[in-house]
Symmetry: C2
Subunit: 474 residues, 2 copies
């Protein structure tokens, strides 16, 4: 019989805090009847966000096209949706039950390419786009591609989305941390990048790629064009591929911020020698179709020999799921002004994005008022990364670096666990994403309904005050 | 810019013939207007098999539950389907747009567990079942789990389904081949297993698991209970985990053969110290829902510490796609006799399985009549592994083992390529699955409509005769 000692040591090491111990404890408490506010994960439809009618009508008809034949049902669907489904079935007569080509249905890849061209005003090649089961799987494919040997290093931001650190552990690669600048609203800093790559190289690590998450997870930041230019130049100088995680590109809540894709900025800079992999997903934005596992990535400056290895990798898993491919199609091919479904679509879209904006504002403003708690206003994504001041309770001067790190990561873990037990609020400790030594954070989504967010702020305030009081007593 | 020399060498090495060069050539020819008969892959709905009404009604309503509210549409759906969807939505109020738990929706895992219990008359634990994106992804998860170090060895049948060899290459593990006994209808042979593990150990390989595909892909064989008992004892003796690929369990076309699950045989033998991972999929059987990427695996004799590592691994990819989960639910929870949708369901099911049986018989009988071609009658799965006699055309006595292998694998590749170019029939060379030295095969599905299969037989005969003639001329 297999036992834990004989398993894959990389798997044992890998951590994924977003679904880690605190969340498991939340499930237990829920089973026992406690009301839990799940702020641990960007899962909008688990928090009462409704799916878009447009997306679901498309899916229902693609799954069961017989509905179109019936005159009575026809009346229940928007006219343009019916036409689109007819076009989908003409393009893909096998329907959703057949494996597609490894890289996804070609007409959907063409639609993705048009979407990118229109978004950025640049060219995009549909034969360089791969449809994936959510962005995560695409990201893991590119990690697999670029992992030349166990010394291959991937630069990732700290704090980061733990998919990255988990994948690096799992694949036995090397992680190169670069700290985001909290004081400058979590932007990337050139000196920090240079010193972190320098240090890695000194250790014998061979850097192959840099990961950038924009808008930021867990930070809620939106990078400026200047910052992106700096990153591209840095990648060019060090011959790094860029993995641009752009899954929150629709989630921007500030009039003073704009999403700049890496593809567009690279095009503006006329950089043609940096390999770029840009990821997008149907899980975020205003669709929030996490369960359907739809997504894509586009490659730029990747030659056909390399690209064909990616296709082969996809082919081993056959293809991404077809319903997810259809949701991706819906995402990149929204109803147009003159179409029947347009009004409903826009109403639903604006309501979802408007709500998110409002909730980001409540969190951004109210949490900053709590003494000992601070955060950079979340301009994008679905998260706030909240700094908490925990007074020193132990003399760490005589501890080793490792001991300090362990001790400190336990501190915000304990904070979050106690928060959960007392209030039912489920957030993820900052240590799950990474943070600078001697700082403490937690990540919360702002997905629950606005009332609950207000309630959450009140509960957090009370909890934090008591927590500090108790700390000082001990 | 990234170039091929800097990529993951394991990825470069990995081969997946089912979607390899011959298939890519078929796509090209199709683009040029040639009619292709795709016999390369078990993709029933790409070859005119219709989806089951039951499955698609369930999916359509789960995607767009608003349809249930309307009285007019209600009439278009079977009553029991509507009730089931209402139950699904009650069990999973988030709908299909939310991430589920990492291992899948619990009510579906319970349904899987009931299905196994009823199939085998044994106990099955729903908390030891994980829902996956097709069987492939589950299999790769277990490979990841068991890969302790680069010397970990996985025993796989030759011929095999190339997912296995590709995954072993990709993950940097060691492949331990055992030959299936073609003369004994591709069953496993104890002496062969012993000698192959022995040889591997001598090379310093540490065997961790044995893969068995039953019913067989590409062989079309169905293993006897005795053969399975022998395998379980072998695994027990050598402390190997068993990966039982049972995705073709519904595809049996002989009255003299029966599917025996490893779980049931193990239970009968009262073996409790061999870890078993059994895989099933919605892609095969009579559903043929390949595109939806649904599936599950059940673990037996796997302790909770080990199991929790599997859950963590799933959590890094968040969860399998929800539409695929629903198709899995439909597969394990078919309509019952008294239910409204039963009649349609049974009619569709029997028609699909009846057709497959007929086509297996045509192939099994007719190809055996062709001189220089022979096959074991396909009792199961969707494939025949056809032996072709190619007369020696080169003196191989002075060639090294490696040179011979390369030369021979080119020979059936060339055969299949020429077959494609001349007739439009797309099959996969035996070398893509592995075969004994100095033997040649190809794998064909029997999925095309019966008329086309008859046509295919005729074309194959003519092609083979000409091919041999031309060989002897050179």
């Amino acid at each position: 019989m297999i036992n834990i000692k004989k398993l894959n040591p990389n798997l044992i090491k890998a951590q994924y805090a977003v679904r880690g111990k605190i969340v498991q404890r939340a499930y237990e408490l829920e089973q026992e009847g406690k009301k839990i506010i799940y702020c641990n994960i960007g899962n909008p439809q688990a928090l009462k966000q409704k799916p878009l009618t447009y997306v679901r009508q498309l899916l229902a008809l693609c799954e069961y096209p017989k509905l179109i034949e019936d005159q009575k049902t026809k009346a229940l669907f928007h006219k343009d949706v019916i036409e689109k489904v007819q076009r989908i079935l003409a393009e893909n007569p096998n329907g959703l039950g057949a494996y597609t080509q490894s890289e996804g249905m070609i007409f959907i890849r063409k639609a993705v390419s048009r979407f990118i061209s229109e978004r950025d005003g640049i060219e995009s090649d549909p034969t360089k786009i791969i449809l994936t089961d959510g962005a995560s799987k695409g990201i893991q494919s590119v990690f697999t591609l670029l992992l030349n040997n166990p010394n291959s290093g991937f630069m990732i931001p700290i704090p980061q989305y733990p998919l990255y650190s988990a994948t690096i552990e799992l694949y036995g690669a090397k992680q190169i941390n670069y700290y985001l600048d909290e004081e400058k609203h979590w932007e990337l800093n050139k000196e920090e990048l240079e010193s972190s790559i320098d240090e890695a190289k000194k250790k014998g690590i061979e850097p192959v790629a840099i990961v950038v998450i924009n808008p930021g997870n867990p930070t809620g930041s939106v990078l400026s064009k200047e910052n992106i230019k700096m990153i591209i130049s840095f990648a060019q100088k060090h011959n790094l591929s860029i993995l641009a995680d752009e899954v929150y590109q629709e989630n921007i809540y500030s009039d003073h911020h704009k999403f700049h894709s890496f593809a567009k900025v690279m095009d503006e800079m006329k950089v043609t020698d940096v390999s770029l992999f840009s990821f997008h997903s149907t899980s975020k934005g205003f669709l929030g179709e996490c369960g359907h596992r739809g997504g894509y990535f586009e490659t730029k400056n990747v030659d056909s020999e390399v690209y064909s290895q990616l296709i082969k990798l996809q082919s081993i898993g056959l293809c991404s799921n077809t319903a997810g491919q259809i949701v991706t199609y819906a995402m990149v091919n929204p109803p147009q002004k003159h179409e029947d479904s347009y009004e409903t679509y826009m109403k639903e879209k604006n309501s979802i994005l408007g709500e998110l904006k409002k909730k980001a504002e409540i969190l951004g403003e109210e949490l900053n008022k709590i003494k000992g708690m601070s955060l950079k206003f979340p301009y994008g994504a679905m998260y706030a990364f909240v700094k908490i001041d925990l007074p020193q309770e132990k003399n760490i001067r005589n501890m080793s670096k490792k001991e300090i790190a362990e001790y400190e990561s336990k501190r915000d873990f304990n904070y979050c666990l106690e928060l959960l037990e007392e209030t039912g609020i489920c957030v993820v400790p900052g240590s799950g994403f990474g943070q600078k030594p001697h700082t403490y954070h937690f990540r919360t989504t702002f997905l629950p309904p606005a009332d609950e967010i207000k309630e959450l702020v009140k509960k957090l305030k009370k909890f934090h005050e008591n927590y500090l009081k108790n700390l000082s007593k001990n």
